[in-house]
């Protein structure tokens, strides 16, 4: 039963995708109905499976997951087997994936202005510019519906397919397939408005950058396959295989096979989860529609990277355990922590509401990676889930804000950027639901004590880092957390508090229920989910609430990964996290409450001076890559490959060959074809004609002549028969 449903989970979005593309693309209502129906089905299935998993219980489920396998790909001996599997980790991921996807699908309906009139001069490939409507006497502009409405839902359905596939797959290959499908959808959706050059470039950039990671990931998979002969988790993550891998030396870097594989796969994660140094694509990815940013680039796809890292944690752990070889763990921890801080600093200086969130996403992912790096994979999973919820919430909220702003812009006709936070302000009265939900999300992100989910997960990571004695990681993350709280508060203040700084902001108003509804649902999770993971040593609450999440996910690799001893609870990390969270929020509010005008410079500029510019320009990483990679690549392509190889070498050879064959052809035609073949053909034709002219006489049209011939033949035949048969 459960396995059957597991098989079906990815299927319904795929079917929806096919149906929309093939049949429903003319009918918007039908398209989004199909898409939402499909994901709701998957959602229901996921919930059922999750409920069954709860009934089974974590340990038991970890012992024998829901599992089903079929033969897929014939290989040398036997088959490559394709299967689905659900263990506690996958179950928990499935849970938040299902919820966020459904929410975002519903949200998209409102976001793309379903039910609004067609735009005056909208065209496919550009965001809608708004439509003029006649309303009791005077005409005014309102948002217009997305021209490529159906296409959007087709793409996101395909994406949902990829995500579900990744989650339920029981081996790395199908996981990789889903991974790549999501990559494709990400590309398509970032470039959804393909007539905007910025969107086009962003799409290409995202695709290329993630490719880099994926290639390494594929290498890792291949290496793993050569080592183990199978890609199924069950075959890989058992002690003897891990031991073999961990003790078997790899050719490079003095690493063990396990270490190398882990590292390669982790590079895939770096690409997907936009870790330094492959983080550059994520901020630009904000060119896509906001639901896409929320789903792909905050909740699910980028989380998939972290999910993979947690998935392969036993490998890393084993590699880290074998002291004979260099361990990948420190690298991971370093990259994670560094990314967290680095992205947070950039986020401080961004004015685009979505870009801020993008960088905060990067930094939060850094948190998780760092957590894995220090071996706290449970904390990482915890933060993964909570972050998925509140970051999706924040993105959707920002989308709602932008939407309201666009409404205002259309209303007033001002030409201002509706995403720039400096153009906002005082929106809390205009759009209360958005404000409160956004507030909840923001507090969760900045780890507002006790009530929010973010607090628990982040505190978990910090305390683990502290407890395991990774002080560098601990302090880095602490600073990052402070910055997080700071820029979150900055964002809230600039957006919602104070009074409107522009006409548009003054005329913005609340978005429809299809958008606010998901906000509220997600807000509930952003608050409540944290209480599932209260560590049991936590004062007061720890005794009231069971640390359900830790037990649940912890059971996944129980007995596979080396257990570290029980952590002694200490108040130090707790106090630190309290201080950084609250302090960050407070400072943020203090600094930014005084902003009055849209065009006034950022208060920090005075404080930081040139550094602010550095931050504002993201440490010039894009430029750096442009000079280091892009330009050489262009040069290589244009000059070396094109001009030298192609033009000079290959083309000339080709021309020579062509010329020769041309001459040969001429020779064949004039010397052989014309005289011999054609001559022969003509001769045959002429001969036939002549023969016909001769034989035509036979066609006398007289019955008797025909019969005469027939009988002559008969006589001849008879003579033969007589001669050969009858006489003997």
């Amino acid at each position: 039963m459960e396995t059957k449903i597991l098989w079906l989970l990815p299927l319904s979005p795929l079917v929806a995708f096919a149906l929309i593309v093939l049949f429903a693309h003319r009918n918007r209502a039908l398209s989004h109905t199909l898409a939402i129906l499909s994901v709701v089905l998957s959602w229901a299935g996921s919930m059922f499976v999750f409920w069954r998993a709860l009934q089974v219980g974590a340990e038991h489920l970890a012992e024998e997951p829901f599992h089903s396998v079929i033969n897929w790909l014939p290989i040398g001996n036997g088959f490559f087997r394709l299967g689905v599997q659900l263990d506690p980790l996958a179950a928990i991921v499935l849970f938040f994936v299902a919820w966020t996807i459904v929410m975002i699908f519903i949200y998209s309906v409102g976001y793309h202005n379903f039910g609004q009139p067609e735009g005056d001069h909208d065209e496919k490939g550009l965001p809608p510019h708004g439509a003029t409507v006649e309303h009791n006497g005077h005409k005014h502009k309102v948002p217009s519906i997305e021209p490529m409405y159906s296409r959007f839902f087709a793409f996101v359905s395909l994406f949902a397919f990829g995500m579900y596939l990744l989650v339920v797959s029981d081996n790395l290959l199908t996981l990789f397939a889903g991974w790549e499908i999501m990559g494709l959808c990400s590309f398509l959706l970032i470039g959804f408005w393909f007539k905007k050059p910025s969107a086009r470039d962003a799409a290409i950039k995202a695709f290329m950058t993630t490719r880099v990671g994926d290639v390494f990931m594929l290498l890792g998979i291949a290496y793993l396959y050569t080592q183990v002969g199978s890609l199924r988790y069950a075959d890989i993550f058992n002690p003897e295989t891990l031991h073999h891998l961990a003790t078997h030396p790899a050719p490079v870097l003095g690493m063990s096979a396990a270490g190398l594989i882990g590292l390669l796969l982790f590079i895939g994660t770096v690409g997907k989860s936009a870790q330094w140094p492959l983080h550059v694509w994520l901020p630009d990815a904000m060119e896509g529609p906001t639901p896409v940013s929320a789903m792909i680039h905050a909740a699910t796809m980028v989380s998939a990277g972290v999910y993979l890292t947690i998935r392969i944690f036993p490998l890393l752990a084993a590699a880290g355990h074998e002291t004979a070889f260099t361990s990948p763990m420190p690298i991971i921890a370093f990259i994670g922590a560094f990314t967290a801080l680095f992205a947070a600093t950039i986020a401080v200086a961004q004015n685009d509401i979505k870009r801020v969130l993008a960088y905060s996403t990067i930094s939060q992912l850094g948190y998780m990676v760092a957590a894995v790096g220090i071996g706290a994979y449970v904390a990482a999973a915890f933060h993964l889930v909570t972050h998925a919820f509140f970051k999706a919430l924040l993105f959707l909220g920002s989308g709602s804000v932008i939407h309201g702003m666009e409404h205002g812009v259309l209303h007033t006709g001002q030409h201002i950027d509706p995403q720039n936070m400096y153009n906002m302000g005082g929106l809390r009265r205009k759009m209360p639901i958005t404000f409160w939900t956004f507030l909840i999300g923001g507090f969760a992100l900045s780890g507002f004590p006790v009530v929010t989910a973010g607090f628990w997960s982040k505190d978990e990571i910090l305390s683990e880092a502290f407890g395991l004695g990774h002080m560098g990681v601990f302090w880095t993350l602490a600073i990052a957390a402070f910055l997080t709280a700071f820029y979150t508060m900055r964002q809230i203040t600039l957006t919602f508090l104070g009074r409107p700084r522009t006409e548009a902001a003054a005329h913005a108003h609340e978005t429809p229920l299809t958008m606010t509804g998901p906000l509220m649902v997600l807000a509930v999770f952003a608050v409540a989910f944290g209480w599932l993971g209260v560590p049991e040593h936590f004062p007061i609450l720890g005794h009231m609430l069971p640390a359900w999440f830790q037990e649940w996910v912890g059971a996944t690799f129980h007995g596979i990964v080396p257990e570290h001893g029980e952590l002694t609870f200490s108040y130090f990390p707790l106090t630190v996290s309290l201080v950084v969270a609250l302090g960050g929020l407070l400072v943020g509010w203090l600094v930014y409450r005084g902003v009055q005008r849209a065009d006034q410079p950022d208060p920090l500029e005075r404080v930081l001076g040139p550094i602010y510019g550095l931050l504002e320009n993201k440490y010039y990483f894009d430029e750096l890559y442009t000079y280091l990679l892009v330009k050489p690549a262009y040069w290589f392509g244009a000059v070396f490959t094109f001009r030298w190889m192609d033009r000079t070498l290959i083309d000339n050879n080709l021309h020579a060959i062509a010329y020769l064959s041309w001459r040969l052809g001429n020779f064949l035609r004039n010397r052989i074809d014309l005289p011999i073949v054609n001559g022969l053909g003509d001769a045959i034709a002429e001969g036939t004609k002549g023969a016909g002219r001769l034989l035509r006489v036979v066609q006398s049209g007289r019955v008797q002549h025909y019969m005469l011939m027939a009988l002559v033949n008969a006589a001849a035949l008879l003579a033969l028969v007589y001669y050969f048969v009858a006489r003997s």
Partner: protein, 102 residues
């Protein structure tokens, strides 16, 4: 009793004569006459074989009956055609009827 081969030879001669008639005559009806002769030769053959090889069976007789039917049909259609052709061409000479000439 007369040997079988006598009947067969008579039939063969009859057949030959019929063939000549069919091939050499001008008039369509004359051709039909030749055809009838050939039919009769066949009939004689059939019955002779029946009598000499399987006198207690009925196969030969049935064969003959069917041949009768065929002959009757053939003559009916043939003469109808002949009449039609005669009305159309005002002649019963098959040498004049060569619409199928090249």
């Amino acid at each position: 009793m007369v040997p079988l081969s006598w009947y067969l030879i008579v039939a063969a001669l009859l057949f030959g004569i019929g063939v000549y008639g069919v091939l050499a005559r001008k008039n369509a009806v004359a051709i039909l006459i030749g055809l009838e002769l050939m039919f009769n030769a066949v009939l004689v053959n059939v019955l002779a074989f029946w009598r000499y090889l399987q006198p207690t069976g009925t196969a030969g007789l049935v064969f003959a009956v069917v041949i009768f039917a065929v002959a009757a049909a053939e003559v009916a259609v043939g003469l109808a055609l002949f009449i039609a052709v005669y009305r159309r061409f005002g002649s019963s000479d098959v040498d004049d009827i060569n619409l199928l000439k090249w």
